[in-house]
């Protein structure tokens, strides 16, 4: 069983489109995250949700909107996609009192 699963694994889309990435964790963790990894492999946090409540919202364009229907799911919707949005997006989760994260395998988004 995959602990943190993301879909899709690959996403190729045209500029201006709207797309969503889904994430689910079966670890019973309360907190979930979205990270963006650029072409230089740098990982930067975008959002964090704790039990469906947004707790971290880094400086991210408001075209990016996370949604957490329950504490096991955190989806990322992106409007009006731009070339610069091309990256690998990672979902992660953590449990209370433990500050290490468990990551999903990533979604490679390519905007053409």
């Amino acid at each position: 069983d995959t602990a943190v699963s993301q879909t899709p694994k690959y996403l190729v889309t045209q500029m201006g489109n709207d797309k969503s990435i889904k994430c689910e964790q079966n670890l019973g963790h309360d907190t979930m995250y979205w990270y963006k990894q650029d072409s230089k492999k740098f990982l930067k946090i975008m959002f964090s949700y704790n039990n469906k409540e947004l707790i971290i919202n880094e400086t991210v364009p408001n075209r990016f909107s996370p949604k957490s229907p329950d504490k096991a799911h955190l989806n990322l919707h992106i409007n009006s996609l731009e070339l610069g949005d091309s990256a690998v997006y990672f979902c992660a989760s953590s449990q209370p009192g433990h500050r290490g994260y468990t990551f999903g395998s990533g979604t490679r988004l390519t905007v053409v």
Partner: protein
């Protein structure tokens, strides 16, 4: 701003040799550090962690050293194997920040 950086972006070692990957951090308030391994096409995977009240921690073939005086972290891998080839990240966290901040990453290549 806060940052965690690595001294070398790439490291090439011979199979069987020991590897040392270095990391510098800038936030004195960071009290928890983690090393992650990211293989191609996968998400970051937890290797080992260390709290700021320690200066050394050992795992299976890996050792993390923490020097708070100079804000330096290192990961030592003993008897490096081809399966150790990956990008290695250090990450820092502090109780007030609530988020894991990643360094740039070092790509380790193991030559047979």
């Amino acid at each position: 701003g806060e940052s965690v950086g690595l001294h070398l972006p790439t490291l090439s070692v011979q199979e069987g040799d020991n590897s040392i990957i270095n990391c510098a951090y800038s936030n004195s308030a960071s009290d928890y550090f983690i090393w992650y391994k990211q293989e191609s096409g996968k998400g970051p995977q937890f290797i080992i962690d260390i709290r700021s009240n320690m200066d050394k921690r050992q795992g299976q073939r890996v050792t993390v050293l923490l020097n708070k005086t100079v804000k330096h972290l290192s990961l030592q891998i003993a008897a490096t194997q081809p399966g150790d080839s990956a990008v290695y990240f250090c990450a820092e966290n502090n109780r007030g920040g609530g988020k894991l901040i990643f360094g740039q990453g070092t790509e380790l290549s193991v030559k047979p």
